[in-house]
Amino acid sequence: MKNINQTQQQDTPEVIFDNEKKILKISGNSYPENCEIIYEPINIFLNEYNLNKNHKLNFEFRFNLINSTSTVYLAQIIMKIAQLNSEGLIVTILWYYDEFDEELLDLGEKLSSISNLPFTFTPVRD
């Protein structure tokens, strides 16, 4: 299984996969010029995820600022996770958001609603 690791920059999130704990974490700002560079490797990672060897996958989303195009790419990823879930993968999704960021909470709720995946929402205080 390919690993996935992207360092955080001012406009791009950090993406880390902890293979031991089976946690994929995305955190930071996401308003890049080219979203595909950030999100396509995650799509490939999910497409290649071997369900026969791995039955669990945990996700941690901890965005600060996310733009509309990143939202669409993220929605594609969430729908892919829902598909893997329907094929037997056990998933947990933790959605952290700034306690003052109603927009980010709302986005998480929408993503949970469109995918029928339960998200655990956790407000974060700076």
Binding site: D11, Y31, E36, L65, V72, F100, E103, K110
Partner: protein, 191 residues
Amino acid sequence: MDPIHRHICETTILSEYDIVKKDIHENGDIVCQYIGTFTQNILISFVSLLENYMNESIASHVIQKRLTYLVVETIQNIIHHSYKHPDNSQLAYIIISKNKIGYTINTSNAIETIIAPNLIDKVEYLLKTKKTRLPELFRKKIANPEINDNGLGNLGLLTIVSKSDKNFNYKISTMTSKYSLFHIEINLNYK
């Protein structure tokens, strides 16, 4: 864009920029502004500048966040949809201002007049949609997430109109036979 069209367009944008700034000075203060070519590096710098300003602002954190989201979307709207010269330069501006009621974002950029009718249709559709229906429209779009050939999600305008609670005004005015000025004004009340 030939030199005559370019001169007319740049003069029009500069003139409007001065008028908007003069209007702001009568009722409030400029928080930050930029005029010139918009790039991703300009966006990063602008967001950083705005976040530093926000650390000292008395506006609620909810409004501060919403303003930052709106600034990202409006600048990326200019980056991706404004007319650019073959050398990728452009003349566009953004001004963030504040007064007793709230923040205002003004942006202007050149567009090819040929795309104006389609743009008007899109904006008018969003403005005619009830405020309470906009989140559902957004939800439907992300339920069928599609990326266009340019790698964009086509949700920028919907996001701007929705996050501004429809406190969104726009104007498209002809500058030359081929080019128009697309002006946006977004108001974000403190409460």
